[in-house]
């Protein structure tokens, strides 16, 4: 094997493939020139490594801005709780009346929710039925009046024919 000068750095930092590493070791053991090269390199390396790492003078900490919506949602529970408390307080004070009926919430301000009259719907239906009947009767009345006038006119025409002198 030739001198390891070209591979000295890889040999020292052990980055040669295992077979080449083994061969280089054998060569260095036998070659005074390569041993000297190696010693000089390692001496400089040792001097460099004598300089320890520094501690950074301060820690870097990033404070990241959260997205606007995230910030708003963070306040949502507090706002919702406050709104609920406010609503309950007003309701208890008698100014707002809340009623849950037939899957529907009814909120009335400053007054009681009017009670629903059970006969109201039946009365409304009866009125509508009578109004329809009245319209029918009025229509019948107009037809009878028209028939009466037509019959009277016919009688008059017949009566005139009877008064005409015979032989005209």
């Amino acid at each position: 094997m030739s001198h390891i000068t070209e591979k000295l750095a890889e040999f020292i930092f052990e980055e040669l493939p295992p077979p080449e590493m083994a061969e280089a070791r054998r060569h260095v053991a036998e070659c005074a020139y390569c041993r000297e090269q190696l010693a000089r390199f390692e001496q400089t390396l040792a001097m460099l490594k004598a300089a320890p790492d520094l501690e950074p003078p301060r820690d870097i900490v990033f404070e990241f801005d959260k997205p606007v919506m995230t910030r708003l949602w963070r306040w949502f529970p507090a706002v919702a709780a406050l709104a609920a408390i406010l609503l309950v307080t007003i309701a208890l004070a008698g100014r707002v009346h809340i009623q849950w009926r037939d899957s529907q919430v009814t909120i009335a301000f400053g007054q009681n929710i009017p009670a629903v009259d059970p006969n109201q719907a039946a009365l409304t239906a009866e009125i509508q039925r009578l109004q329809g009947h009245l319209a029918y009767l009025e229509d019948r009345q107009q037809r009878v009046e028209s028939d009466t006038i037509a019959t009277a006119s016919q009688i008059q025409l017949l009566a005139r024919g009877q008064r005409t002198p015979p032989g005209d």
Partner: protein, 174 residues
């Protein structure tokens, strides 16, 4: 913190959380990578205060562009690439400026802090691309292939830069 001690799978889980809207989880990535990235930058530009600001810029950019990361398991390489761009942008602005001006000392007299200062000074005398290879290889323990991806250069070029850098460092550090 060395790259090898970190589990990409953990990074992946955190990144997935961030991408799903858990933005605060990004601070977990910060905790994990702040020190390596800071040390990479400070060794590249040689100014500790400036390095902190650049480190913050790099993480801010990483956060903004996280959704463009195609392979979540390669987050660290991607992050180093962002830090690389941040550093080189700064270095182009401050072309020719060397922040660490201490004279290198002899090896025998060095205490740890002095060693660090001597190394930082020596690093600042290297061309930027060579310096970056040394920092990423020696201090961040990245593979040659990873460094090649960060520098957008062939692996052979990366290795050449390392050899040339070591020659110069040996001359400076003694």
């Amino acid at each position: 913190m060395k790259l090898g001690s970190l589990k990409p799978v953990d990074d992946r889980k955190i990144i997935e959380r961030v991408l799903k809207g858990d933005t605060d989880a990004f601070n977990l990535l910060l905790r994990r990578w702040e020190k390596p990235i800071y040390n990479f930058i400070v060794r590249m530009i040689g100014d500790r205060d400036e390095a902190m600001d650049l480190c913050q810029d790099a993480f801010m950019k990483a956060y903004r562009e996280l959704d463009t990361l195609k392979d979540l398991d390669r987050f660290s390489s991607w992050l180093y690439r962002i830090a690389h761009n941040t550093c080189f942008s700064k270095l182009r602005k401050d072309h020719g400026k060397i922040f660490v001006e201490l004279q290198p000392e002899t090896r025998a007299s060095r205490m740890p802090i002095e060693s660090r200062l001597a190394v930082e000074t020596a690093l600042q005398h290297l061309p930027e691309d060579q310096r970056e290879v040394v920092v990423l290889k020696v201090f961040q323990s990245l593979k040659f292939e990873e460094i090649a991806a960060i520098q957008d250069a062939p692996v052979s070029t990366v290795k050449s830069r390392l050899y040339m850098a070591f020659e110069k460092l040996r001359a400076i550090l003694g």
